[in-house]
Structures are given as C-alpha cells and as structure tokens.
Symmetry: C2
Subunit: 338 residues, 2 copies
Amino acid sequence: MKHSLIPLLAIALAGFTTTQAQDALPSWNDGPAKQAIVNFVKATTTDSSPQFVPVPERIATFDQDGTLWVEHPMYSQVMYCLERVPALVKEKPELARVAPFSTVLELLHGDRAAMEKLNLADLEKVAVATLTGMSAEQFQAEAKAWLAKAKDPRWKKPFTELTYQPMQEVLRYLRASGYKTFIVTGGGQDFVRVYAEQAYGIPPEQVVGSALGTKYGYDKDGKPFLAKEPKLVLNDNDAGKPEGIHLMIGRRPYAAFGNSTGDQQMLEYTKAGPGARLSMLVLHDDAQREYAYGPAQGLPDTKVGTFPQALYDKAQKEGWTVISMKDDWKRIFAFENK
Amino acid sequence: MKHSLIPLLAIALAGFTTTQAQDALPSWNDGPAKQAIVNFVKATTTDSSPQFVPVPERIATFDQDGTLWVEHPMYSQVMYCLERVPALVKEKPELARVAPFSTVLELLHGDRAAMEKLNLADLEKVAVATLTGMSAEQFQAEAKAWLAKAKDPRWKKPFTELTYQPMQEVLRYLRASGYKTFIVTGGGQDFVRVYAEQAYGIPPEQVVGSALGTKYGYDKDGKPFLAKEPKLVLNDNDAGKPEGIHLMIGRRPYAAFGNSTGDQQMLEYTKAGPGARLSMLVLHDDAQREYAYGPAQGLPDTKVGTFPQALYDKAQKEGWTVISMKDDWKRIFAFENK
C-alpha cells in the first residue's frame, strides 16, 4: 500500500506544480507556446532538474517594440522625435523653413502625404536634432512629459498602456522564478529607460538599447552634467544585440523574446548556450485585436518590425517557438474585458 | 510621565540603530570616515528622513584597483597580460624575437631591469595581443585559470584574497540597506567580471569597466560566438566614469568610492545630485600594513593610483571624505588576525 501511493503522490504534485505555474499566465491559451514557457521555467528552476540554473545566472532578455508593446503604425520613439519638432522650431525659428523640419511641421499639421517625403536620412536628422544637444536630465524630463500626454492614434491611450498583458505575465512569472529580466531593444536606451520601470517593472540598469554617447562637462556655475552627443556607442540591432548583451550584461541569456529580424542574432546566441534555453518570437497575426504583419505566413509586408518567412523557417529549424497573437493570447491588453 | 518617556525612548532607539549599524563595520575604527558612512545610510534609508531614497534608486559605485583591492606594485590585469605572453609565444613562436614580447620574456625570466624598457605603448601592444583575438568565453577561461594560480609577490596569496576587509563590509552594509553595488573601474570590464561575483558578491551585470568591443560571428560549425576586438568602446576613467555610469546604469549614484585622479569625476557627479550623497576616497598611507603613496600629504609619489594633493584639497572643499587606511581601518585583509 505504502509504495503504491508514492507514484500517485508524485503525479499529484507534478499536476499541482503545473497548475500553479500555468496560473501565472492567465492571458495565455493552452498550447505549445504557453507550454514551452512553463516547461522552460520548470526545467531551469527545479532543484532536481538536470537543467537546473543557479539563480545568479538566470537572465532573460526581451526586445521591446512589437514584443512587449505595440510598434505599429510607427515606433513610439519616432513619433516622439517628430512631435518634438515644434518645440525645436520654437528655439530655432530658422528651422521652420528647412527640410526635413518643414516637412515634419506639414505632417503634424495634418498633411499625411508629407510622410512620403521623409526618407531614412531625414528621420536620422530629426532624431539627432531631438535626441542630442541637451543634458541627459533635460532629455529625461522632455521624454517623460511627452509620454504623459501622448496618445496612440488607434486606441487613444497612453503608449505605456499598450503593453501586451501576456508578456507582462511572462516578465512577472520569470522574475518570480528568480530570473532577472532585461529589455534589449533597438530603440533608444535613454528613451526606454524613462518609462521601463513604471511600464514593466524593469529598472534603468536593466535596459539595454541603442545608445548615443554622452560628454561630461560643467555648466556656468561649475555644476557637472552629461550632454547627449550625436555619437552612436551601440547599435543594438541584429548582431548588435548579442554584442550589447555582452557589453551591458556580460552573461548569455537563458531566455530571449523578439518579434523581427533585428532579434534573430539574440535568439541564436541564446539558444546556442548549453542546457535548457528558450527562444521565442511574437508573430503579429491578429488584425482585429492588434495588427497583422509579416510577411511570414502570407501576412501583409511591413517595414516596421518585419518578420519574413525566412525567420519563420529558421525558428522551426532551430527549435524556437513562434507565438501566435491570435491563437496563443487570450487577451492582448490589460484594459480589455477579460 | 508618559510624555517624558518618549524622548528617552527615541534616544534609546536611535542609540540602538547606531550600534546596530556600526556593528556592520567591525573593521573600521570609530572616526569621521566610519561616521560618514553610517550617517549616509541612516539619512537615506530611514523612512522618516527628509533625505530618504526609495530602494530602486539606491545605487552605490566603487572603483576597484586601490579602492577594493591592492593595486601595487602593479595592477593585477597588467600582470595578467605580461604573464600571458609565454602562452602567446607558444602559439606564435616568431613573437619571441620581437619587442615588446621579447622584453616581457626577459622580465618573466627574472631580468627586472627589462621592466624599464617597457613604455606605455609597449604595454598597450601586449594588452591588445593578450586581451583580443579570442572568443569572449575563451578569454574568460584563460583569465579564470590565471587567477586560480597567480599570487601577489608580497603576500604570496591569490589576488582575490587581497581585497580590503573594511570595504567588503561597506559593500555588504550598503546591500543590506537596499543599495545595489556596482564596480566602476578603469580596469577591463571583461577581466573584472571573471572574479567580481566570487570576490565581492557583485554579478557581471553590475561591473562597469573599460570595455573593448566584441564582434558577433559563427565558427566553422555555424555556432555563434563573440570575438574580442581591439576597439575601445568605453574608456572608463576620469570623465569616462560618469559617462560609463550613464551608459551602463542610467542613474546617478548616491554613494561613490575611489582612490585616485581617475575617480574624481565620478565623485563630483555623485555629489552634485540632490539629497544626501556620499563621496569617499581611500588614501594609501599605511606603508607597514599595505602601501603608502600619494603624493598627497607628503606621501611617496607613484604612477599607479596617483592621489595628488590637488585631489586631497578638492575633497576637503567639496565635502568628500578621505579614508585613511592607517587611522580608519582596524584591519586591512580578512586573513589578518583580528
């Protein structure tokens, strides 16, 4: 009698653990994506597991735009740069008559066709003009003020409310399991740091992003400050993601999440480590509740957060898990009715 | 009666807190340096204090060489680079006849005069040859193997045992008070990360240092790796320290500790923030128990960890606290008899 109870008890306990863990992800439908996350956490945090990972080594990295929050129709930081132009023109009125700043003003005044006139070099000019030349603290104050009032054009909500509830649950579940969660974004490190703590519970020192340099100097009263410079220190995209992870974190992640070509190398690098590793890609295949774009799986093509078929095929081949927003996510945003 | 007890109780409690806090620093003699640390922690962590700092903002930064461990007669990383030369020559025998590698071999074979022939450009050549060209993981393995067998010439002990016990107590005291402790070193970030967790309880992601870039690539089996490149991404000295803090941490520290000119800007930047801030400098004035060098206060001059009189005077003027190893530290190393 005694012996025959043990396997039963083990099954009961295993069931209990699984149920507990899965409760950490209530916005996920049961399926391979949810199961991959739960299995990974169990494999790396159960003492007796051959794939157990000591707590200090538990590092998980997350792309931001399109992985943790909405990136369509345009990255919020690009919207920030465009919407800073009027303030810039107020300081330097001569810019109002100079492209690309004049074009941005037309766009902001409702001329949507003006967007077509802006190429990548124009956007870079606007970015340099709106992201550098001030102190790091002044930039933080400007970005914070913008985030407090800016609204997404479709949901009419602050951008920081457009984070994906299922991914918030993954962040919390991993942290509750001893993982340190980092953002590793192609977006601007200083920009994302302004809101990452409030939006995701991720402190500034755990945000890795494309970074411009700063220059230490003194104001007229001799008080030191850091001036933001138009010098790229880290281009945190593609190969820049694992390079940035090495620079800023110094350990290979055990889990990495992305949604586009810019995340490929981070997912490769993560998966190439020994033991249990989790590499996941969010596929935007839900035009109704969010957006649908790829062009993988015949979804509409896009320049913002491209997920080509080759990346989809690579994911299948390498054992990465593709998350279907449509099938895997019970709800997208916290503000939706459950 | 009731009322008259309250101030008494407050005094008793304050006394209790002070005694408790001071017990966290048993290797410190009572004096202004110890008091400055205890006062700072009380001011920033007591709920009712007007200078209270929320836990996520509690950041403390520490220089390493000469602040947390011994830097004389020579930085341990320089010794590492020199002692890697024989292995390098084994791989590339032609280097044995080429300066500066031939000079380093003479030095390692006991010809102390050879040291005089090595200038800064020579040391840089040796550093590039021994710190780059391999994968990040290979470098970690090489540095780890060296640290396991290398011994300091005076104490005949592994370098990682030559950390300052009073500073270890400050690290632990600050962490127990909710502070996140970071190393901010002019030394190589990848090198210090190899042992910082074991030596100081500081994980790799909390080590900021001078950093060479890496390049993401694939080996012949298609496995990704990061190659260490001879490209300086961050020179984490002087103004590079606050710049590095902004890049890697993204918040101004509340407390900073250093011991030489390379730390001046970090201490300035820290102290320039609002609220209670602690900037401290270790002065090596104990030739008997460790080393004596300045040239501040008439101590012998040195090129390794220079502490000039101007820095000493600036500390007095700016309200930074100078720690006298001789007067403030009851013992220097953990291995000493108490």
